[in-house]
Amino acid sequence: MALLARRNLFHDRIRFAVTLTGIVFALVLIIVQFGLFLGFTTTTSNNIDHSHADLWIVFHGVGYFDTGRMFSERKFYEVLATPGVQHAEKYIQNFANWKKPDGGMENIQVIGFHPGSGLGEPWNLVQGDVMDVKQEDGVVVDELYKEKLGVSKLGDRVEIGDHRARIVGFTRGIRSFTTSPFVYTSFKNSLDYTRPEAREDQLAYILVKTEPGVSPEKVKSNLIARVADVDVYTRDEFSRRTQFYWMFTTGAGLAVLTAALMGLIVGIAVVAQTIYAATMDHIREYGTLKAMGATNGYLYRVLIEQAVWSAVLGYALAMVIAHFLVQASEKGGALILMPASMAVGMLFLAVAMCITAAMVSINKVTRLDPAMVFRG
């Protein structure tokens, strides 16, 4: 039985290549589409997830990470005085114009944080020093956007909102979920770049580190009771809300999700058609087996074994291709993510798709009239 299953697969190498191609195409399509979805989703909340803050405090009604609504610095001191708060930092995000050295303009998102605080800082710094953003004109950008921003090395000079800026560091892999790259600088600089008219006592977010051993939920309750007109979220809550907003409220994510679901449907259809065609190629042989006394259970096992072999081999090839695509995407504008759970899930999906497709064929095979074998 096992021999027949394997030989039927491998004997006709062209047929087998076609089968594998179909499965690999389907799996890669699904991996890419869901990888893009995951990449986009993760990108929307990247700054929150890497903030090292236990709690995020925003103006009341601001439920996601975007241009935060400004509120008074007085809230910041109320937060610092709240029981359970070990440390808090001001944080801001706002849009600004970036004037490239060649005179061209780009829209950017300026992130203002307190250097050295450990909260809300850029991560994956590959060049420069994050503390240099304390300098009056120091900014950090991601190397992905070098070309877009017209810079190539540390020390390059640009203008942000009519203020001078100088590149003091490059990060790797911090993407923006919009067309405007993130530019990290000190909180003070960020106000100069984005709200020159604003006083320094205005801020958009407060990032909180809770005392060791104190539950963030408990501190959240304390903050809600003590500080008026703000919303308090744990990091995970704020991350989920932000992802949900960008993925489902704006419609941008919905398009990516729809593409991912379409990829899944097309993938299943391709696999189903491929496995079905491979089975139908051998339909007369299955009829012969039935005539020889094979039970339906025997035929099930042959077909399922073939399906599992197809799935596992197709999966292995798809993973190799997907690995290269994922690596390539790290240097491109659209990130494709394939976490380990997704890789494992794809194996189960591949096996499930192939077996499901085989079941359609099985239905045909088990309904075969064994008398067909007598007909020329």
């Binding site: 004997h11 042989e285 005539a291 006394g293 064994p370 008398a371 007598f374």
Partner: protein
């Protein structure tokens, strides 16, 4: 032998077998009130024009098609009312099939084709390999065990198919025009092999054929017309001599291997 039978034992008894396809205006009566008995140790030929119901009858006798009415007994067991899921067992234990188109599995070697039939019966591994080898030796294919069907001649393919049909040591062999696609030399080899299996091993061999060259080999010839069994013949000695396949090296091989049989 799992299903040992003695010579001249009735292994198939059919009474009033009829088969109707479709219903109403599209009704087609393929078989009408066929009564017959098939005994072990005999080669029975089923003859008749196209559409006379030969293959339908063979399919019913082989338990791969159900009769619309009538009774069928195999080795004394009434199989007419058996549920569908009991029929595969009967086919494995009592019946071996030989098809006109050989129906070998192209991805398997000759030995593996035979071993597959053993696998269906739960015989695997070395036991299956040994038994498959024995069966292929029995049909004269000792040197072609590891050849794929594509590398075998038509006659060799049919002999592999016969070895496969013998895997379950069945008392009944049903063959559908096994010589039709073969040249005279291969045809002779195959018919003589089937005859030997009937005469030496007490198998009941039922063979559908259009081939006049095999008439002389039959112990009985049953003629079907329009789904009815119209007559039975016992071939005359002179017919046996005049219409047989011409002598061939393969035939000589069998005559020498099984002296006195042919």
């Amino acid at each position: 032998m799992a299903n040992a039978v003695s010579f001249a034992q009735t292994v198939i008894r059919a009474q009033g077998l009829s088969k109707v396809y479709g219903a109403g205006t599209t009704e087609l009566r393929a078989l009408s009130d066929v009564d017959l008995e098939i005994r072990s140790g005999q080669l029975t030929l089923l003859m008749g024009p196209s559409g006379s119901g030969k293959t339908t009858l063979l399919s019913i006798l082989g338990c791969i098609l159900r009769a619309s009415s009538g009774n069928l007994e195999l080795l004394g067991e009434d199989v007419t009312a058996l549920p569908e899921n009991a029929l595969p067992r009967l086919r494995r234990e009592l019946i071996g099939f030989v098809f006109q188109g050989f129906n070998l599995f192209p991805a398997l070697t000759a030995a593996e084709n035979v071993a597959l039939a053993l696998d269906l019966r739960g015989i695997r591994g070395k036991d299956a390999s040994r038994r498959a080898g024995e069966l292929l030796v029995e049909v004269g294919l000792k040197d072609r065990m590891h050849a794929f069907p594509a590398d075998l001649s038509g006659g060799q393919k049919q002999r592999v198919a016969i070895a496969r049909a013998l895997a379950g040591d069945p008392p009944i062999l049903l063959a559908d025009e096994p010589t039709a696609a073969l040249d005279s030399t291969s045809g002779r080899t195959v018919i003589e092999l089937l005859l030997r299996l009937a005469h030496q091993h007490a198998r009941a061999v039922v063979m559908v054929t259009h081939d006049p060259r095999v008439l002389s080999y039959g112990d009985r010839i049953l003629h079907l017309e329009d789904g009815r069994l119209v007559r039975e013949e016992l071939p005359r000695k002179e017919l046996r001599l005049s219409t047989r396949f011409p002598e061939s090296a393969v035939a000589t091989h069998f005559s020498e291997t099984f002296p006195g049989e042919f």
